[in-house]
């Protein structure tokens, strides 16, 4: 029996991410200025997880605000190179960002948990109790 290959796991994940690429789940509910940073939203039971790529943004230059159904990410990306250096290749971009997304669910803003590591922001977004579906017993 051949064991599970971690590359297969990554390949399956890439396909799963592709199928939800710009799905209409958020519809046009992204406002604010610009579409930076790109966001992936995932579901864990009733709750949600947002994964945001922000390489080169320092955690103290990043701000996250949450309301009952919206998330606002803002900040600045800046970097400095030595003055006397001659630049051979320049692909990285510095600047500021401010993006608000409106979620089609009610969230519990007080219980959001944010982790920032290796240029990735992960937000654990609990769904508000009032928004969770209830099972109705049929008498």
């Amino acid at each position: 029996m051949i064991g599970m290959d971690p590359f297969d796991a990554l390949f399956r994940l890439q396909r799963a991410l592709d199928t939800r690429l710009a799905s209409d789940w958020l519809s046009s509910a992204t406002a604010g200025i610009g579409a930076f940073p790109p966001i992936n939203l995932l579901q864990q039971g009733h709750d949600f997880v947002a994964v945001v790529e922000l390489p080169g943004v320092r955690s103290d230059a990043l701000s996250v605000e949450a309301k009952e159904n919206s998330l606002r990410l803002s900040g600045t990306k800046s970097f400095d190179y030595e003055d006397k250096a001659s630049l051979h290749r320049r692909e990285r971009i510095a600047g500021s960002f401010d993006r608000t997304i409106t979620l089609p669910i009610r969230i519990d803003p007080d219980r959001i948990n944010a982790e920032y590591r290796d240029g990735i922001l992960v937000l654990f977004i609990p769904r508000a109790e009032s928004d969770k579906p209830r099972t109705i017993k049929i008498a």
């Binding site: 590359f7 991410l17 789940w25 579901q43 190179y81």
Partner: protein, 132 residues
Amino acid sequence: MVSGQELQVQEKRELQKKEESTAPARMFLPTTDIYETDQALTVVMEMPGVDKGKVEINVEDGVLTVEGGIDFSKYEALQPVYTEYNIGNFRRSFDLSNSIDQGKIRADMKDGVLTLTLPKSEEAKPRKITVA
């Protein structure tokens, strides 16, 4: 660098391989800046999600190759509902025009950005020639 401008989304570029790979997963090219001083060549690569322990740097026959492995465990047991980008490991190679002192390469990783300082070997450093 200027930080007055508003950031735009940069489309992630996929690595186009010369050879077919045995693993089916896609790889991405890290967004890169390269600059040179009299002393060294510095390569700055954005590799979000890569831990410093998962970076491999290789200089062979004048070619610098950098690979970064991402940690995708945070995606486990989660169902994607809306995505704007894909993820994958990073790899990129550059031909080095100068000879590099391989023993003195320095690597630093912070907030998903790798900074590689490749000191030039003595014979590659510029010399001032005095015209007699």
